[in-house]
């Protein structure tokens, strides 16, 4: 690993992991067994021909490696950084049985970074089909669908409600994990394929649903943008944030640079972050970089945390204090937060999610003195647009119901990413978007 030391990196928002050098990348690639029946490809939600790209790296032919990657994935520098490879491609790598698996993610990132620095080569696009496709949302799902459909020759318009594209890649994931110039460069590549980006357009409001449904096909990738709150007393005190708001203020609006940047964020000496996922780790580590002493409160044990192991390790290295098997019961304060009261949890039986289910231990309440609380307990599909489209079938959790190809109850409307699946990972969103794009392409070509 090539991580910058924790005491240095908590002073800035620069990337933690420095990546591989060319020599390291070649050496790592040479370890690949080039399996005849590669399990890693099956482990990849977007089916990258992993042995092929790694083979090119081993030969030192980095442009060929980039071509092989982009055959299946237009966002390799992003995926190389944020995919949970340990449960996907690397998790099934045969070398992992006896030794460590090939560092596929690090290699993917290396190839993509190398290409970006030396000038990206665009994949070929098919002849224009004359078909118009609307893609709603420019997060991982929308960008993937747009790239696939633009390559197939369709005229793609991407609608984004914010002033910048990228969705969660831009507002959610902090720069120390995913630098914003990397995100912008990969978005630019999607646009270079011919997709048109309309920022500041909230579909359902700035674009009518009639106008939307007038496209030959529609892909909905509006994500899981609605933050959940715990519904405990004190939640609307000043100093209580959803992780979405806290991260958006810093990542999208650059509140860390206030007052050079106009958007403020509160600075607290002690912060409590609630949750155990990647977003909780991100929020905790951002708060740390703003100078706070940070405690993370999670109702289950550390081994049950949904966050990637690497992010948990990073957070601990950065002196985030973990309170596991604890749950907040109320947030204290008059107008602003002064503390959070928690109860200890015992882990009994196994619940529906297959994890040990937490139960409060009576009389075990304790209080943490904090002046900010960030809730990172999950998000659900943003209901705004989907509730405005008549005839669009929705599931119980507000998600859009789709078939195995991503098709909704309206024949020319497809959906992918969190709006269809509920909150999941960047790569899963991309995988479902790719499938939907293939189905849209087939439909438009009358197959």
């Amino acid at each position: 690993m090539s991580d910058r030391p924790a005491d240095v990196r908590i002073k800035d928002f620069k990337e933690v992991d420095g990546g591989l050098s060319a020599d390291e990348a070649i050496a790592e690639a040479e370890r690949c067994l080039q399996c005849k029946k590669p399990l890693c490809v099956k482990g990849c939600p977007v089916c990258i021909d992993i042995p092929a790209f790694i083979g090119h790296v081993a030969e030192g032919n980095f442009p060929a490696a980039a071509r092989a990657l982009k055959e299946q994935n237009m966002l390799p520098a992003i995926c190389g950084r944020v995919c949970p490879q340990e449960t996907q491609c690397e998790g099934v790598c045969i070398l992992g049985n006896k030794d460590t698996p090939i560092r596929i993610g690090a290699l993917e990132r290396f190839v993509a970074d190398r290409e970006r620095e030396s000038g990206a080569e665009l994949p070929e696009t098919a002849k224009p089909t004359g078909k118009r496709v609307a893609v709603v949302g420019s997060g991982p799902a929308g960008l993937t669908a747009a790239a696939e459909l633009a390559r197939a020759g369709h005229a793609v318009t991407i609608y984004e409600s914010l002033h910048e594209a990228g969705g969660v890649l831009t507002y959610g994931i902090p720069a120390f994990r995913l630098p914003k110039d990397v995100v912008r460069a990969e978005i630019d590549q999607v646009l270079a394929l011919g997709a048109r980006l309309k920022k500041n357009h909230l579909v359902g409001r700035s674009v009518s649903t009639d106008e939307l449904l007038g496209y030959d096909a529609v892909f909905l990738g509006t994500g899981a943008g609605l933050p959940a709150f715990m519904c405990i007393p004190g939640e609307n005190l000043n100093g209580v944030y959803s992780a979405n708001e806290f991260l958006t203020r810093v990542n999208l609006m650059h509140a860390d640079a206030f007052p050079e940047s106009d958007t403020p964020v509160l600075h607290a000496a002690r912060v409590a972050v609630i949750g155990g996922g990647n977003v909780a780790m991100d929020a905790a580590r951002v708060a740390r970089r703003l100078g706070a002493k940070v405690s993370l409160i999670y109702r289950r044990g550390e081994e049950e945390m949904p966050a990637r192991r690497a992010e948990v390790v990073h957070a601990k290295e950065e002196e985030i204090e973990f309170y596991t098997c604890a749950n907040p019961t109320r947030i204290l304060g008059e107008q602003s937060v002064t503390g959070v009261e928690c109860v200890k949890m015992s882990l009994c039986g196994i619940d529906a999610s297959g994890r040990r289910s937490p139960e409060p231990i009576e009389g075990s309440e304790f209080t943490l003195d904090v002046d900010m609380v960030i809730q990172a307990i999950g998000t659900s599909p943003n209901p705004l647009l989907v509730s405005l489209i008549p005839g669009l079938e929705r599931g119980r959790r507000g998600n859009v119901v789709v078939d195995k190809n991503g098709r909704t109850s309206i024949p020319h409307v497809y959906a992918g990413g969190d709006i269809a699946t509920g909150a999941a990972t960047v790569i899963e969103a991309m995988g479902s978007a790719k499938k939907a794009a293939a189905a849209i392409d087939a439909m438009l070509k009358g197959e």
Binding site: S161, Y171, R205, V207, Y241, T263, N382
Partner: protein
């Protein structure tokens, strides 16, 4: 970029801008708002849509912080980096009978569109507009044209009734049947004025103005408590049942960044002095 077609100073610290934003203008309804961002380092601030003309929308704002001060330095022909809208749910327009539309201070900006749509829906529309003094009263002619009746109040008695909009509303409620009331103004004014309709059980709407970031339901910065439930003003509002709103919490949350807002404004003022910028002259 979104071009400012016209910029006029209406009163001390109050400005009227017409902004070219076709995707907003074509879909905007009464009660909705835009969010704008001046430039790369700008913050996102919500402003009510006050009128629509062709591909342009009108916003009226008072200079209260850094962003509005900076916005006021722009003039016709200048551009704003980002404008998104129309955001929020439109006002619940219907044919109710007699409706009263009340604006306080710069909140008067929101009243013409609501009054106009209520009028078109067949209502008898009574307008009440109030300001601290006559020189701060805006949109009087416009409201007089739209409304069947228009009442004016000033805190200092320099024009119309000496007193508050709530005083006129109380009198009207005692005299005749009012079916729906809209109140738009500072939080404290909305709270006090809405109190007048409680004894009569008249459905009353207020347009809330909490701090927002994205304005699309993603961040929860604008959460307000209405009827004991947490709502997002940006997507569930901005208009809510006045009698259900927790105004104390709204006002508390509007003060979250008071310290930082003050620092930012002072820094901007200092910078302008140093650079000798006079800003545009608004005719």
């Amino acid at each position: 970029m979104y071009k400012i077609d016209a910029a006029t100073k209406l009163a001390d610290r109050v400005y009227e801008y017409w902004i070219r934003a076709p995707q907003v203008a074509q879909h905007a309804r009464a009660g909705q708002f835009i969010i704008l961002r001046l430039h790369e380092a700008g913050e996102r601030i919500p402003l009510t849509i006050s009128a629509i003309r062709g591909d342009t929308v009108r916003v009226i704002f008072m200079t209260v912080g850094k962003t509005t001060e900076e916005l006021a330095t722009l003039g016709a022909g200048d551009s704003i980096s980002d404008v998104v809208g129309p955001l929020g749910k439109p006002s619940e327009i219907g044919n109710y009978g007699t409706c009263c539309v009340i604006g306080g201070g710069v909140g008067i900006a929101s009243t013409p569109l609501i009054a106009k749509e209520l009028k078109s829906a067949g209502n008898h529309v009574i307008g009440i507009i109030g300001a601290r003094s006559a020189d701060l009263l805006i949109l009087e002619d416009e409201m007089r044209e739209i409304c069947d009746e228009l009442h004016i109040t000033t805190d200092d008695g320099s024009k119309g009734v000496h007193g508050f909009a709530a005083d006129v509303l109380k009198k009207l409620l005692a005299e005749r049947k009012i079916d729906r009331v809209w109140i738009i103004g500072p939080a404290i004014m909305m709270k006090v004025t809405a109190g007048a309709t409680v004894p009569y059980g008249v459905k009353t709407y207020v347009s809330l103005n909490p701090i927002m970031v994205d304005g699309t339901g993603m961040c929860g910065s604008c959460r307000v408590t209405v009827g004991g439930e947490t709502k997002f003003a940006c997507v569930d509002g901005p208009e809510f049942d006045a009698h259900q709103v927790d105004f104390a919490e709204l006002m508390q949350r509007q003060r979250i960044y008071t310290g930082q807002e003050k620092a930012s404004l002072e820094r901007f003022a200092e910078h302008r002095c140093r650079c000798g910028e006079g800003g545009h002259h608004h005719e």
